[in-house]
Subunit: 167 residues, 2 copies
């Protein structure tokens, strides 16, 4: 069995988003136990011009749904970016997992050479499916999952590497 585009994408998103959901649960429980306003954690940043926790979760989920949709050649589901609570973020993560699970392997397998066009703020990037997955989607996805973890860890939430890896 060779590595397929599906195997290299959807299961990773599903798994890491599940781990993110568990981490967010621990953060919400921590806030409740210590009587911390959850908004303090949701708006926490590692540096004033870095993005806060809520935005890290929004971008991680955007990256997952955008990658799967682009590889499959289907429309990217639009989310409103209006989350203000941990429950809202959990719902967003769950919606994202449901979307990536809704795309069957056959739609993604064989997308190695599919032409992907990314419209960025200042330029348009054209690349092949496998380059998009390896050089753009996965690094971005892991960046925002890890940064969400780091923001929470920096704020004293008791999580560890095994929460991130999910084992």
């Amino acid at each position: 069995m060779t590595l397929s585009m599906y195997a290299a994408s959807t299961p990773t998103f599903r798994r890491m988003l599940g781990n993110l959901a568990a981490i967010l649960n621990k953060a919400a429980a921590h806030a409740e136990a210590r009587k911390i306003d959850p908004g303090v954690l949701l708006s926490a940043r590692l540096f004033p011009d870095m993005l806060p926790l809520t935005k890290q979760v929004q971008i991680a989920t955007d990256t997952a749904k955008g990658c799967v949709a682009r590889l499959a050649g289907v429309e990217i589901p639009k989310f409103e970016d209006d989350e203000t609570t941990f429950a809202d973020l959990q719902a967003r993560v769950a919606k994202t997992i449901a979307f990536v699970d809704s795309i069957p392997p056959a739609k993604i397998d064989g997308s190695e050479e599919r032409a992907i066009t990314l419209q960025l703020r200042e330029r348009t990037l054209e690349m092949k499916g496998q380059d998009f997955l390896r050089n753009r989607a996965l690094p971005n996805f892991y960046f925002h999952i890890t940064t969400a973890y780091n923001i929470l860890r920096h704020n004293g939430i008791e999580i560890g590497k095994s929460d991130y890896l999910g084992n």
Copy 2:
């Protein structure tokens, strides 16, 4: 052309380690320009019981060389973990890139089902090559590259997402 185990591993390590090297260069230049003791950055952490920058770089490189060596079925090069300067870390990153570049694609391709044994502190993990790559090596690698970035960003180094992504 289908996604190969080589394409899903070595080029990612080479690319992201190159980006890490460029980020470390900016950090060293920042320290010099502001007369900051480089040791302050090298020992910086996001939380008291998280690992410092030097260790993040050591583990990122360990993950890359360990993954490529295990998939190829060759001995993992041993590094001494004695880095104390930015130049030392750069040398370690360069040694790691040289090692992953030294393993030809043919040694890694076809390792999807290869049995990989990981001796952790408290348990032994057995998994197939592709599960090891997707669920263990890549998430770990990206975690430590991103955390190195976050530590430096948290300390005011002027780097951005494009330094991390390398484009």
